[in-house]
Amino acid sequence: MSMKLSTRQVDGVTIVDCSGRITLGEGSVTLRDTVRDLLSKGNKKIILNLGEVNYIDSSGIGELVSAFTTTKNQGGELKLLHLTKKVHDLLQITKLYTVFDVKDDEAAAVKGFK
């Protein structure tokens, strides 16, 4: 299953609902293009909802890091929402879990933006 993305706005925050696989190739490129497009349009409060992401490889992890740092460097903020166990475990062993702002509750995540 390839990656699918859709975006929606909630109280000035852009939520990107992701499903499928974030892996080398199409999945990573799709995520990268989406985040860059959002930032270029001034949407700098971003939540990546990964609740339907069932697989991620090292390239996908790199893409999450890239999205996080790119957003931060442009004065924005990016949070991760609803990690599946597989993604959660990967972020734990790569020590990235504490780097990202990870949330389990969408409403609280939206309210948590500065």
């Binding site: 490889d57 090292s58 890091v65 740092t69 990967l90 062993i93």
Partner: protein, 147 residues
């Protein structure tokens, strides 16, 4: 040691997906549990990515060899490329604070996290990566794979 199956694959992104699919199927057929199947398939995917991208650098005349073997105690997976050979001394620790926010460099670390043994043998004619997963318990069968 019994060789279950061996594949010669092109240096393409499709090869990465195919390698992962083959690893998933063979590990499942051998009776590994769901978590171990995922670990094995992810390690093979990372090895295939390295072979295609960093080893063969997508060169159409270079191939990736993927072999699965079953010993009494292990599943042994060997991935070979035909590149210039990886420089192991140049691989930074992805867990070091200064490397945490790098966007690449986690493939070998993940392989080592998911497998019991990872042996990497670089040479001027390519790199060979051996991924070994121990067979735990009697539930893992000894079944012949098919191409």
């Amino acid at each position: 040691m019994e060789q279950l199956v061996s594949y010669t694959l092109d240096s393409t992104l499709e090869t990465v997906d195919h390698a992962e699919e083959k690893a998933t199927r063979i590990a499942t057929e051998l009776g590994f549990g769901e978590d171990e199947v995922l670990q094995i398939s992810m390690a093979v995917r990372e090895g295939a990515v390295n072979a295609v991208l960093h080893g063969n650098q997508y060169a159409p005349n270079k191939k990736v060899t993927l072999a699965f073997e079953r010993t009494a105690e292990d599943l042994v997976i060997t991935i070979r490329d035909q590149g210039k050979g990886i420089d192991l001394s140049g691989i930074p620790n992805p867990l070091a604070p200064e490397n945490l926010l790098k966007t690449s460099g986690r493939g070998i670390f993940l392989m080592r996290s998911f497998m019991d043994v990872v042996e990497i043998r670089p040479s001027q004619t390519g790199t060979e990566v051996k991924l070994i997963k121990h067979v735990h318990g009697s539930s893992v069968g000894h079944k012949e794979g098919s191409q």
